[in-house]
Symmetry: C2
Subunit: 309 residues, 2 copies
């Protein structure tokens, strides 16, 4: 028997997927279509949807319409909409947008090389940026309870990430959040480049739990090397009940040379429901969303369930 009766799935498809699809083709996905998918997802029972990224329009031109997306977004009561940002400027834009739940958090990256490529910051520079964002949360009276860690399970540039580094970074998160008198309650660990195997998932969760028994764990798992669903299962065995997932597997594409995205939401829903774990999601409606996503991006997505329902 699994120690989990229900899971909370955080839908990251619109943000992950449309960012990925727009690489080299920033105008490929219209703002209207982005919002159309978000609206459809809000009807499935999913409670949290990551909508867009407030990042540099120069570095990530396909996300330059983040404000326009927000304008068109018609929030459905009971659904929480979120957005991501990588620095203080992005945070200020997300705050100004007014429609997103701003969850105060610190974000660290387990691979410095990846940090340099993704956020263009060293570890040391990242700490400065995290403190700057913490000050903004404080100024707005936004509680800070979360930490999130990119590249926690392996890196295309640095290879294996030692478990000790993951623990050290969580310790740093506790310290950073403690500096403003807040307390870390949840840490989200991302297998950003899809290196994790299920035994590593269990070892990592076990080690984090041993040190911080009350810290809730959330996982963000890419299926780049086919281990995504096995990793979800291993985490369920460990009692994890919060997962980022992506409708259709948006953020990837089943063609040579292209990495797969997050674990597909509908595949996770199917597996969970079949094991008696409640997701609160209507699988039929969700599959319709995956098909809409395929129509919008113009190619098949990595999802399995969406292709047989």
């Amino acid at each position: 028997m699994l120690p989990v009766k229900s899971v909370e799935l955080i839908e990251v498809g619109p943000r992950e997927g449309f960012q990925f699809e727009g690489i080299g083709a920033p105008d490929k996905i219209s703002t209207e279509n982005k919002v159309r998918l978000v609206h459809a997802l809000a009807e499935t029972g999913l409670k949290t949807i990551q909508v867009t990224s407030f990042v540099s329009p120069k570095a990530v031109p396909q996300m330059a319409d983040a404000e326009r997306v927000t304008e068109l977004l018609e929030p459905r009561p009971g659904v929480t909409y979120t957005a991501i940002y990588l620095n203080d400027k992005g945070l200020e834009r997300a705050l100004a947008a007014g429609k997103y739940a701003i969850e105060g958090h610190v974000s660290l990256t387990a691979s410095e090389t990846f940090s340099l490529r993704n956020q263009r910051r060293t570890f040391a520079e990242d700490l400065v940026m995290q403190r700057r964002q913490l000050a903004i949360y404080q100024a707005h009276g936004i509680p800070v309870r979360r930490g999130s860690m990119m590249a926690a399970f392996g890196c295309n540039y640095e290879g294996d990430i030692p478990l000790q580094r993951v623990l050290d970074l969580i310790e740093t998160m506790h310290e950073l959040v403690g500096e403003i008198g807040e307390r870390l309650e949840l840490v989200s660990l991302a297998d950003t480049m899809g290196w994790a195997d299920p035994e590593q998932i269990k070892r990592t969760i076990g080690a984090v739990r041993e040190r911080w028994p009350d810290l809730e764990i959330q996982l963000h798992l890419h299926d780049t090397r086919g281990t995504g669903m096995a990793n979800v299962y291993a985490a369920l065995e460990m009692g994890v009940r919060r997962f980022d997932t992506s409708v259709g597997g948006l953020g990837g594409c089943p063609f040579a040379g292209v990495a797969a995205g997050n674990v597909p939401t509908e595949d996770v829903v199917f597996m969970c429901e079949r094991m008696g774990i409640e997701t609160g999601v209507d699988l039929k409606k969700l599959v319709a969303c995956a098909k809409l996503a395929e129509e919008i991006v113009g190619h098949p997505l990595p999802s399995r369930v969406a292709h047989v329902m």
Copy 2:
């Protein structure tokens, strides 16, 4: 720690894949290309390769070249080549081919509806056919130690398959094999239509083990609904070390309305090796085979690892 130090992967891609690819287009894959892939796979370290099907050329015209495939096949020492058949006629053809390891076995199907569609036989008719095949094995002095069961975890037509039916059919296998004075040593359970979830895998293995502690278990897992790799992991946790896998995920195709094939061999190899489980397979060479398979079929295959290596 997993109770498994090494696994044996049985490569079923050429048989599964080229049968699938030829649906409605029997001449799509040339005999030369079929054999080319088998020859390449024999260089990867895989020890067993399922090459072709001796089935009715009328019902399955894309496998009508089974004898021609055999003619072109140049066996590599140390590699075992196998073929499948669904009745006595097919078995006689496989025997006559002379290049295949004929493993005496009984084969039953947990869903009678699927049996009627796939083998055009009721349960009762299947028993007659199994006995006819057993007589042929006896006449050739071929030991019979294996049972294989199709649709053991769920059926597109009948829905859930009760665990008791699986146990009853294994009991029947023991009886059938016992009738000719042989003893069942291994049972291969196939999730033919991809309905299994990892908890069901564990329950099933647990129940079979409880009743027949010495019976070895092999699994044949389709990834139709995204649970394939999680099912492999669950089985590894239970100590299973024999899996059918398919290079590239041959037997499926990532397009709408098309089911995924077997778990991709290279994804299983990656996951196992990362968890310290030996496969004996050279992943680079295997990925080259997956790319060759994509070239031969002319479209992307469901594999994850092959698209990032």
